[in-house]
């Protein structure tokens, strides 16, 4: 009471301001679309600044050239010509592609049975616990996990000592570290949860009566899997493939640490161009080429799976 009497002069003014604001709000948020735009505006600006701007800079750089210490800003395709004609770059691009595809295949093929097991064999009350357990190894740093794989796969590592100790092999295996195999193993492990989760979600969404209907219509368990479960899980598989494939092609930490000289990938070369050879334009051109390759492969993959991605209920 006292407050409202003493402050009677100031309060109406504040109220007026608030009123104006309240009136302005509905105009902005009149349609749902406008509300939607308003909500996505901050993340959109953020994405624009941190993604689009650097991307544009990279593309622009790739058309410039480096002349020792000076940057020549005339636009030219010289970098691209060089990248495509020099067999070294071609080989690195191809190897990156092959390694990424291998990592993707290995990851998704191991993730699927795990996701299937959690979705179909784990009692509903335990499912979230299992998902939680799967993510636990990924609470440690990525670098640490890469080093751990070095310990496991190394010449005197856990795997080799165990196998020699058991007398299964006479001398340590050397094909498992400092080459492309090691890169594939390490990356496949690193991306496992990212592949398990989308496949698990897709499997969880499958109405179990569909599987019974298939059995009822005469199909065995295997055929039911092939004709019903797998096609309905495909959106999850496609998501898993893209989630694993797209970032692996640009990975440079793992090949650097466990890849040895023959396990290096295009990202290592890009890093070298930028930081060691001081040739940012060449590095940018290679980055753009790698991106183009990822985009092309992803689009082809999406196209091949288009029938599974159409709007299902």
């Amino acid at each position: 009471m006292i407050a409202s009497e003493t402050g009677s002069g100031a309060i109406p003014m504040i109220k007026l301001k608030i009123n104006i604001k309240i009136k302005a709000w509905p105009r902005l948020g009149r349609s749902e679309a406008a509300q939607g735009y308003f909500l996505v505006a901050p993340p959109f600006l953020y994405a624009l600044l941190l993604l689009a701007a650097p991307l544009a800079a990279i593309v622009l750089f790739s058309f410039w050239t480096q002349d020792y210490l000076t940057l020549d800003t005339t636009l030219t395709l010289k970098n691209y010509r060089e990248a495509l004609s020099d067999p070294l770059y071609g080989e690195l691009l191809l190897r990156s592609l092959v390694i990424s595809l291998a990592v993707t295949a290995a990851t998704v093929l191991t993730a699927f049975p795990i996701a299937y097991f959690i979705s179909f064999s784990v009692p509903p009350s335990r499912k979230s616990m299992w998902i939680f357990l799967i993510t636990i190894p990924f609470w440690s740093s990525y670098l640490m996990r890469v080093f751990l794989w070095k310990v496991i796969l190394g010449y005197n590592g856990v795997l080799n000592t165990t196998l020699t100790g058991l007398g299964i092999i006479d001398e340590p295996l050397s094909f498992i570290l400092y080459n492309a195999n090691a890169v594939v193993i390490t990356l496949a492990h690193a991306y496992a949860p990212f592949a398990i989760l989308p496949i698990y979600v897709a499997l969880e969404k499958i109405d179990r009566s569909l599987l019974e209907a298939s059995r009822d219509l005469g199909e065995s368990r295997v055929m039911t899997f092939l004709r019903v479960t797998l096609p309905l899980a495909m959106p999850g598989v496609v998501a898993a493939v893209l989630i694993v494939f797209i970032p692996t092609i640009g990975d440079y930490v793992t090949p650097r640490l466990v890849g040895g000289p023959n396990g290096l990938m295009i990202a290592n070369m890009i890093q070298t161009q930028f930081l060691k050879l001081n040739n940012a334009p060449m590095g940018a051109a290679l980055a753009v080429l790698a991106m183009a390759m990822v985009t092309a492969v992803s689009l082809v993959f999406l196209f091949l799976n288009r029938r599974y991605l159409k709007g299902q209920k």
């Binding site: 219509l217 005469g218 019903v228 096609p231 209920k313």
Partner: protein
Amino acid sequence: MKDTLGVERPIIALENVEKYYGEYYALRGISAEIRQGEFFSLLGPSGCGKTTLLRTIAGFEELSGGRLTIDGKDMKRVPANVRPTNMVFQSYAIFPHLTVAENVGFGLRREPLSRDEKARKVAEALEMVGLRGYGARAAHALSGGQRQRVALARALILEPKVLLLDEPLSALDKKMREQMQTELRRLQRQVGITFILVTHDQEEALIMSDRIAVMFEGQIAQLDTPQQLYRRPNTRQVGEFIGVMNFLPATATVSDETHIEVEAAGLGRAVIAPDQLPGGWHPGQTQSVGIRPETMSILFPGETTDRRVAIGTVEDLSYYGDMTYYVVRLDGVDRPMTISMKNLVGRPVLDRGTEARVAWDARSLVLFA
């Protein structure tokens, strides 16, 4: 389907079938024989085990005890995919990633038919359920009624010995449901396949079935034709579940095996014919009688009858246009009873509080132990 002795062999025989989930007994000794080509219904309140029984027949649930034979063969350890049954699921279970035609033709993969023959069979099946020309549609874009027809066509195309339907009409609106009831019945006569329908809707069961098994708590309370179930329910529970039934306290006065007299509160003494007795009845047992609302009538003032007459008061009424439902309390009875009257030309609708003279017949009394 006659055996060597020329006796009709049941297409499905259930002998003391039991199913328990841990401590919970979902089916407690079900015995029944389902005849070749009949429209059989499992009727009962939600949770009484109808779905469980149907899934047991389909092969999705293992029996915990008892025996199940289909077409003379014991179904122990016979998986669902080789049983001669097909099911229309409550959710319809239409494959969302396939077209209507692919859904309907799903089970034809193993049939030794050419592509063209399969396509023709699919077209025929779609025609049969009234979905001609829908083959190329995406299955997920269908309405509820259409999904159900696809589910029917998909099951019937395999010409099963028995078609199992789990509450197939419960998701449809009233109009659609009534239309599908007649259509299902027509379809069943046309294909001659045994249908087993699960429903909790007594009216639906009465309309559609040749025979009905009424289930309560994992047991069959009564297995009979719709008319018999309605007219002569075995227990109060069955009488209450099917249609409306009034119950009056009663005592058997004179009773031997052939001549029974009961004294029903409010109505008076009545002689009961032996065929009105419930199965397993023995003298001195009757505690209540049931009587259906439409077997009684309220006489309007001045009307005479040669039927028995009891006196009561109209407590309430609901006017439905074609019918009026009166709530009448007979003199000397605590609980009021329902009497339904057709609104014939010239018959006045009585007011609340007026005296009602209720005409009834001893024939329409149902005795319960």
